[in-house]
């Protein structure tokens, strides 16, 4: 089992969700996050004074999937979250030791 944490532009979330659903990803956790990478922040103006906004709003998707589906999921996220402009985000992959469905107590792949 693998966990994908993808940090993407908020407006791409819907397309990513639909596409992941289509390849059989049946659940996900989404968080509104703020951060910066190469995009850095930008300056805004309030009552004549400039200020730096360091953290841009992003959406973080977390999904846990069967390792066999990993490549497909990554390519789907990349395809749907891509605008080609700076700030498209990142995908992090890690291994997951165990998954347990609270209601039934099932474990492993059937629980994800």
């Amino acid at each position: 089992m693998k966990k994908i944490e993808a940090i993407i532009k908020p407006f791409t979330l819907d397309d990513v969700k639909v596409a992941l659903n289509e390849i059989g990803v049946t659940g996900m956790t989404v968080t509104e996050v703020k951060g910066f990478g190469r995009q850095r922040g930008h300056t805004e103006i309030y009552r004549g004074a400039e200020y730096q906004v360091d953290f841009s709003p992003k959406v973080k998707i977390e999904i846990v999937i069967d390792a066999d589906n990993l490549d497909k999921a990554i390519s789907v996220i990349r395809e749907k979250a891509l605008t080609g402009k700076i700030g498209d985000g990142k995908i992090f992959v890690s291994s997951v030791e165990e998954a347990i469905r609270i209601r039934t107590g099932e474990t492993g792949k059937v629980a994800i």
Binding site: I45, Y46, R47, G48, A49, Y51, F55
Partner: protein, 446 residues
């Protein structure tokens, strides 16, 4: 037709009123109906004055929304409480003391000495004093509440309440008696010289603005507003739509504030209405254009301040300048307000909502403009009296308010502790939270 005749006949028979009596009456003329006409006019005056008073009262909501929108969420409950209490405390103070000082019989021209506790009203006497008092008390509350925004986010609640009572009972009424006393039983020295301030650019707005300046100077800036190197760090308002709603409410309320100041239902209110609207629109447009040129974007909070600047600017001259002049007065106010906000920011007068610039500075401009653009022509004498009124207002209000805030500061305290300021006044002062379901913003000013 038949039915109506029958009905009339029945009425005549029932009341025993012979038709001959009706036939014998001379045709009605305005002269013969004078008493009835005057009664209708009197009723219309009451109605217009009280409807306008209700509109001016609603401006309290406008001030509350502007101030809350331009400040941080953690102080919103405090802003609401200050706005509620400066109207409520101010109403009682104006009833007990302020009205008598402002409109009581004035032997010296400096303050009135009768009519305290609304004693001019007797149950079988003329109730006009009640309608007039109602219209005046909402004006007094407007002056008081202007200060709340400038002192936002760092003022101790109890200290603010003390200020609010003294302003409503003494500071506002004394100046008011100089300029407006003769609207009731008083007679002020300034109005005796021919001072023009129809609806209160100086009497209401500059008094509020200069008191706000004194308050911010005694308080000092909010924590984090200025860097150690003196750089200006903007502290963002938490809800610009709320501030915009407040401005629209104030704009609406001003249609009671200026045209209502006739306290007479006559045709003159049409031009006052139009002047008020034109000046507000010109102020908003010019403030937007200036912010666009200076900052590269049409900045929202400055444009909103611009509308208010136009409204404050036209308040003095709304009844004695032409609609064309009203546009010019509002436009200039819109330019002034942007530069004034930047100026006060630079000299470290931290005014989160721009109250000193909108009400103090543009109030002074409006008062001068009422003399310059007077439809009956202007003279050096008229301008001189306008300048004298502007200066008298500044000296009286700034001095008394500064001393008042100093006394409050040295006795019960005017500013909350740095810990309280960081935590937010809502929790520390009122034990509450305006938006308990929202997480705290990650954006820090420290």
């Amino acid at each position: 037709m038949k039915r109506r005749t029958l009905f009339y006949l029945m009425i005549c028979l029932l009341t025993g009123n012979a038709l001959t009596a009706w036939a014998a009456d001379a045709p009605a003329t305005p002269e013969s109906n004078m008493a009835a006409i005057e009664l209708v006019q009197t009723h219309a005056n009451y109605l217009w004055t009280l409807v306008a008073a209700a509109m001016v009262f609603f401006m309290q909501a406008g001030f509350a929304m502007v101030e809350a929108g331009f400040t941080r969420a953690k102080n919103s409950v405090n802003i609401m409480m200050k706005n509620l209490m400066d109207f409520s405390m101010g109403t009682l103070a104006f009833w007990a003391i302020g009205f008598g000082i402002m409109f009581g019989v004035s032997k010296t021209g400096w303050f009135g000495t009768s009519g305290f506790f609304l004693s001019d009203f007797t149950p079988d006497g003329d109730p006009w004093v009640l309608a007039f008092w109602m219209f005046q008390v909402v004006f007094c509350a407007t002056a008081a509440t202007i200060v709340s925004g400038a002192m936002a986010e760092r003022t101790k609640f109890i200290g603010y309440i003390c200020y609010s009572i003294v302003l409503s009972a003494i500071i506002y009424p004394v100046f008011g008696s100089w300029a407006w006393g003769s609207l009731f039983n008083g007679s002020g020295w300034l109005e005796g010289l021919g001072f023009i301030d129809f609806a209160g650019s100086t009497v209401v707005h500059s008094v509020g603005g200069w008191a706000a300046l004194a308050g911010t100077l005694v308080l000092g800036p909010r924590l984090g507003k200025y860097g150690k190197d003196g750089s200006i760090k903007p502290i963002l308002g938490h809800n610009i739509p709320l501030a915009a709603l407040g401005v629209f409410i104030l704009w609406l309320g001003w249609f009671g504030f200026n045209p209502g100041s006739t306290t007479t239902a006559d045709t003159s209110i049409a031009m006052i209405f139009v002047n008020t609207n034109l000046a507000a629109a010109a102020g908003a447009v010019l403030a937007m254009l200036v912010s666009w040129m200076k900052f590269g974007k049409p900045e929202a909070s400055m444009s909103l301040n611009g509308a208010l600047a136009g409204l404050v600017g036209i308040t003095a001259g709304c009844a004695n300048v032409s609609p064309g002049s009203a546009i010019l007065i509002g436009a200039i106010a819109g330019v002034i307000v942007v530069f004034s906000v930047l100026f006060f920011d630079k000299i470290k007068v931290d005014d989160p909502v721009g109250a000193v610039s909108v009400h103090g500075v543009c109030g002074a401009w409006g008062t001068l403009a009422a003399g310059i653009f007077n439809m009956g022509g202007t003279t050096a004498g008229i301008i001189g009296v306008q300048l004298l009124g502007i200066a008298a207002c500044f000296v009286w209000t700034f001095a008394t308010a500064f001393v008042l805030f100093k006394i409050v500061d040295l006795t019960i305290g005017l500013r909350v502790t740095p810990e309280e300021e960081v935590e937010g006044l809502d929790f520390i002062e009122h034990g509450g939270n305006a938006y308990p379901d929202f997480a705290t913003s990650a954006y820090s000013q420290q």
